[in-house]
């Protein structure tokens, strides 16, 4: 009885090692592991479905990379996260690859009757926002501050973990209004109505992308980034409602 068990255990162990080695050895066309901001879910998947994506809040992904997550490329919705990782030497030189704008979405049924951003102040509303550490959460605070509406934060009923969670709560009619990117609003346009955030109050939203230092497939990672920056990449982003890469600020 024991011998059979022993051989089984050894076989198991061997199997595990082979798997580990395989993943370490760079293979030319092996799919990359791309950690990307939640708002990029649809556009990245349609742009390049061959890669393995892990979409989530940029800050959560940053923490995972900080804790050694096996990513090849990291695309964040705010320079803060990529720059922090760059300073820590965990990602190489980040580059801005697109921009976005914020929008306030309300369920089609519009239970709270929100027509403009200023209605948030004058009417009772169940406002759903992303947490302060999430890029879109930070941008939301900027918008409200620029419009002198920070008092509206008292009406927040939930701080969600990423922008898709905010979108979901509004699309399902649970919340009365929520701040998301215009691109997210477009994805659920049949379930929500968009209330424009005035241009003068828009925050400076810059998406940055970088190769992860520990990546075992840097060449492929860089190729991916180049493809995102290429005309094909930029058109895909534009079609999804993202903005052109803004010139570096004066």
């Amino acid at each position: 009885m024991n011998t059979r068990l022993a051989t089984l255990a050894v076989a198991l162990l061997a199997g595990v090692c082979v798997a580990a080695v395989a993943s370490a050895r760079p293979q030319a066309n092996a799919p990359l592991t791309i950690y990307a901001a939640a708002s990029l879910t649809d556009v990245f998947r349609s742009f390049d479905s061959a890669q393995n994506y892990s979409f989530g809040a940029s800050n959560a992904l940053e923490t995972q990379i900080r804790n050694g997550a096996p990513a090849d490329v990291y695309a964040s919705a705010a320079p803060l996260n990529t720059q922090r990782l760059h300073r820590a030497g965990l990602v190489e030189k980040p580059v801005t690859f697109t921009a976005n704008r914020l929008a306030l979405i309300v369920p089609r049924s519009n239970p709270a009757g929100i027509r403009s951003i200023y209605d948030l102040r004058s009417k009772p509303v169940k406002l759903v926002v992303a947490g302060p550490a999430v890029p879109v959460g930070g941008y939301t605070l900027t918008v409200l501050r620029k419009m002198g509406l920070s008092s509206v934060l008292s009406k927040v009923v939930s701080r969600e973990s990423d922008v898709r969670a905010v979108t979901g709560k509004i699309a399902l009619g649970q919340g009365d209004a929520g701040f998301v990117y215009v691109t997210d609003a477009r994805a659920v346009s049949d379930q929500v109505t968009v209330v424009r955030v005035p241009a003068w109050a828009q925050p400076r939203v810059r998406y940055e992308i970088a190769v992860v230092s520990r990546s075992s497939n840097k060449a492929a990672a860089q190729a991916f980034i180049t493809s995102v920056l290429s005309a094909r990449g930029q058109t895909a982003l534009k079609n999804a409602g993202f903005l052109a890469i803004p010139k570096a600020p004066a």
Binding site: S116, Y118, R145, K146, M147, G148, L149, S150, S151, R196, P198, A199, W200, A201, Q202, R204, P246, K247, P249, A250
Partner: protein
Amino acid sequence: MSLPDGEATASESAVWIAGAFCSSTASGVALAGIHVRDAKAATENDLAYANFGLATSYLVADFYSRSLEAAKLEASTRPALRRGRAAATLHARELTALLTGAGDTPATAEDFTFEWPVPTFATAASIRRTGTAVLRASLGAYQQAAATLTEPTYRVLFASLSASVAQQVGTFTTAGAPAEPFPLALDLETASAALEAFLG
């Protein structure tokens, strides 16, 4: 800031414009003197107007530039347009300083993509119409700000901005056109809605 060369032209509107112009330069100069020292007392609402003012200043500056390029107005108006653009740019710089002083990170021209309806600069009439509309809206907001902001230095700044913009409105009202009633103070929401179309 050098004084303009004061070309006096015979046409009546020119005189009318020149008159409008002098006071704006004067106010422009006075403007520079006001430095905002104590910004901490500024409330969010104060900063909201400042942000709005900043955006409209860039918009107005851009409008003047395009008007100059379109060259649809009488040559005599060119100096006024240039002075208007200079004033707008100055306003933008002032508001940027104000916001930075308040610990804010103000937007820059690059943050805005101005979307003027196609025919805007096609004819002199539409340039005047758009110009008047844009200036009246920003003037309305500035007056509201001058009257209601909490921080005294902001009120003073917006008062002078109002004066400066008021003159510029004159730039586009041709003599003989029915004098429109002086624009009323507009709250931020209405002003913002009015300019939203152009701010892209």
